[in-house]
Symmetry: C2
Subunit: 169 residues, 2 copies
């Protein structure tokens, strides 16, 4: 099972090294990681996706690190999750129309067209990206770059509160 | 000046810690980082954006790390660059239509609507995301999660080659 953990840290050199070393020391395998700015200057947010582990322990350890401001784990279904990827696919002339049509069913448009390849940008929930990749495998994937997953808790007022103390990310 | 460096590594625990420690030891500040799978199982790609530094030195150091397979730096304009973000904006009823219209000019649709907020998903080049945030600041940004930047070299055949030995990412 995958867990999505969001860590808000002070934006200082070395913070990422400390966080990732903590994961490594405890043999937690990071599935994906996205690090970027937040709405507050001077703070960064790391969204970490890790495989089946004792997340309570991880959260405790994260809070022990200097520069950690807040740690949240998103329960399945409680967050909006997004990824973006660039996928370059083999696309010789005879198959080009077919590939473009398949991609457009995913709302994806080409961002680069070469003599024998097409490159698509796809954004969405992780499941959508996985489905797109599965489809494109039949044509041959030449190159794939995928962002880490980002997640944001749903607006508390937009959904029934399940926990009284539940906090949006 | 920002540099975009792509590092392909073996997908083993501890690799991220080693890479980020190297950056920290040398006092290189990481602006954004995205880590995800590649087209080859067992390999991950890290896309690192760093501020004005001696990248030649960095690339040399990255190659010294065990598990590093390939390092590329993208010259400005040579790569397709994308980011995705989720932005929650203050949106009381009277301003709602105005905000939705502004967002749709960026091709962005709401992904979550609360009593007094709207959450947008925006994908694009870094400049587009910056413009969107600038616009939304006037309404008040409540929450922001941004992926690290991902980058892929343009298909060699889709553009005039500037370097004979230039390689796509």
């Amino acid at each position: 099972m995958q867990h999505v953990i969001s860590v808000i840290v002070e934006d200082k050199p070395g913070v990422l090294a400390r966080v990732s070393s903590m994961f490594a020391r405890r043999d937690f395998n990071i599935h994906s990681l996205a690090v970027g700015p937040t709405e507050d200057a001077g703070r960064s947010r790391m969204t970490v996706v890790v495989d089946g582990i004792d997340t309570e322990q991880i959260i405790k350890q994260l809070y022990k690190l200097v520069h950690t401001i807040k740690v949240s784990e998103y329960a399945p279904g409680s967050a909006i999750e997004r990824e973006v990827m660039l996928v370059r696919v083999n696309a010789d002339a005879p198959r080009r129309a077919e590939i473009l049509e398949a991609a457009s069913a995913f709302g994806s448009t080409p961002v680069d067209v070469g003599a024998s390849t097409i490159t698509f940008e796809v954004t969405g929930e992780p499941g959508k990206l996985a489905d797109f990749l599965e489809l494109m495998k039949t044509y041959g994937i030449v190159n794939l770059v995928k962002s880490g997953r980002i997640a944001m808790g749903k607006d508390q007022k937009s959904a029934a509160r399940k926990q009284k103390n539940g906090q949006g990310g």
